[in-house]
C-alpha cells in the first residue's frame, strides 16, 4: 500500500482531524461491554460511533474534493507513517480514569476545531462543521459531568483522576503540534472575512485556558499538579507514532486486508 500525505494545507489539516477521530472512536469502542456500569457503557459507545462517523464524513470530503481514495481504502489500507493522528488517541484504553480524562481533553479540543471550521468559506465544510458541532456538544457535556463527579466523588476517585490528568496532559498537548502548511492555512480568509483557522498555538492557548478554569472550578489545585511544567509529546502530525499505533492498525485492518478489493 502506498500513500502520499496531501501537500496542500487544507486536505492535510482535514486528514489530521479525520485520523484523530477514527483512532479515538476505535479506542473508545473498546469499552463496549466492559464499562463500569451498563448505562455508561452505552453512552461511551455512542460517543465512539459519533467519532467514527465524523472521521467518515471527513474522509468522504477528502475523497470527493481532494483526490484521496474512498474512505474505506484511505482508512483501512494506509501505512503507519501515513497516519497523522496524535499520540493521545492511539494509547490503549487503560483504566476508566485515563479514558475519561482523555475523552475530556480530546473532545474539548475537537469542539474548538469545529468552532473555527464553522467559519470556513467552503459551504460543504461549513455545513459539516455545524452539523458535527451538535454531537460534540453532547460529548463535552458528558465528559464534564464525569470529570466533575469523579474529581469530587471519593478520595480514591480524586487521586485516580489526578494521576490520569498528569499522564494525559502531555499527550493532549501533542494534539496542537505544529504541522507543515499551518502558517499558509492561517492566511485563508473565512466567511466573515477574518482567517477562520487560528493556528495550533492559539487553539492550544484557548484549550488550555478553558481546561485550567474548569479544573480549578472542580477543586483541582492546578499549580500543585504542575500541569504547566509538562512537555508535549510530539510526532503524530509528522507521521511518527508511539508503539501503539502499528498494532492498532494491524488489528483494525486485519479482516479488510484479507482482500482489500472485496466487498464486505
Amino acid at each position: 500500500m502506498t500513500f502520499s500525505i496531501p501537500s496542500n494545507p487544507l486536505p492535510r489539516y482535514l486528514l489530521q482531524i479525520a485520523d484523530d477521530q477514527l483512532v479515538m472512536g476505535h479506542r473508545n469502542s473498546e469499552w463496549t461491554g466492559l464499562g463500569p456500569i451498563l448505562e455508561e457503557d452505552i453512552a461511551f459507545s455512542s460517543i465512539a460511533q459519533d467519532q467514527v462517523g465524523h472521521s467518515l464524513a471527513f474522509y468522504e470530503i477528502l475523497h470527493q474534493t481532494h483526490g484521496l481514495d474512498n474512505p474505506d481504502q484511505t482508512a483501512f489500507n494506509r501505512p503507519e507513517n501515513g497516519m497523522l493522528s496524535s499520540w493521545l488517541v492511539e494509547q490503549t484504553i487503560g483504566d476508566y480514569a485515563f479514558s475519561l480524562v482523555r475523552h475530556w481533553c480530546y473532545d474539548q479540543a475537537v469542539a474548538l476545531r469545529y468552532e473555527s471550521l464553522a467559519q470556513i468559506q467552503d459551504p460543504n465544510l461549513q455545513a459539516l462543521a455545524m452539523k458535527l458541532r451538535g454531537e460534540v456538544k453532547y460529548h463535552t457535556f458528558h465528559a464534564q459531568t464525569w470529570m466533575k463527579s469523579l474529581l469530587q466523588g471519593s478520595e480514591e476517585s480524586r487521586l485516580r483522576m489526578l494521576s490520569a490528568l498528569k499522564e494525559v496532559w502531555p499527550l493532549a498537548l501533542g494534539m496542537f503540534e505544529a504541522w507543515p502548511g499551518e502558517t499558509d492555512l492561517m492566511q485563508e480568509p473565512g466567511s466573515q472575512g477574518d482567517p477562520w483557522y487560528p493556528g495550533e498555538k492559539n487553539l492550544q492557548n484557548l484549550w488550555q485556558t478553558r481546561a485550567m478554569e474548569s479544573l480549578a472550578s472542580w477543586g483541582v489545585e492546578v499549580e500543585v499538579l504542575g500541569l504547566q511544567r509538562l512537555e508535549p509529546v510530539l510526532g503524530g502530525r509528522q507521521g511518527y507514532h508511539s508503539e501503539h499505533l502499528a498494532p492498532l492498525l494491524e488489528e483494525m485492518t486485519s479482516v479488510f486486508r484479507l482482500d482489500p478489493q472485496a466487498e464486505w
Binding site: E39, A43, S149
Partner: protein, 128 residues
C-alpha cells in the same frame, strides 16, 4: 493466570479466571438507585414512561436516559425522577375504577336531545 482469548480486547484486559465459590463482587446498592424516565417524542405530545436508569444523581440519570431511551427514533424531551419519589397506586384498589366507564352523565354520549326536540316541534305544529 490470565485468560487467553481469540479476542484481542480480552487479552489486553488480562482477566483472571473466576475461582470457584467466588465471593460476591457487588455489594448491595453498588449499582446506584433507580430513576424513572419519561420520554416525549415530539412537542405537543405527552411524555410516556419508558423505563429506568441506575444513576447516582438526577443529572447523571438524565445523561444516561439520553443514551438508553433516545438512541433511535424521535425525541424532543426527557424527564427523570427518582423512583423513591413515586407513589404507586395499589392494584388491589383497581376496583375503585370499575364503575367509571358506565357513568354516562360524565360522557357526551349520555346526552341525547333529538327525541325531545322532535316531540316539541310536533306538538307546536299540532297546536297551530
Amino acid at each position: 493466570m490470565p485468560i487467553l482469548s481469540l479476542d484481542p480486547r480480552v487479552n489486553r484486559l488480562q482477566a483472571e479466571e473466576v475461582p470457584a465459590d467466588q465471593a460476591p463482587v457487588l455489594v448491595p446498592g453498588d449499582h446506584w438507585p433507580s430513576y424513572q424516565v419519561f420520554h416525549q417524542r415530539r412537542r405537543g405530545e405527552k411524555h410516556s414512561s419508558v423505563g429506568i436508569v441506575h444513576a447516582p444523581s438526577l443529572e447523571i440519570a438524565m445523561a444516561m436516559a439520553k443514551e438508553q431511551f433516545a438512541r433511535r427514533g424521535e425525541t424532543s424531551n426527557l424527564w427523570v425522577v427518582c423512583t423513591a419519589d413515586v407513589l404507586e397506586m395499589d392494584y388491589a384498589d383497581e376496583d375503585v375504577f370499575r364503575t367509571t366507564p358506565a357513568k354516562s352523565y360524565r360522557d357526551p354520549a349520555g346526552y341525547k336531545v333529538n327525541d325531545k326536540i322532535e316531540a316539541y316541534k310536533a306538538q307546536q305544529t299540532t297546536l297551530r
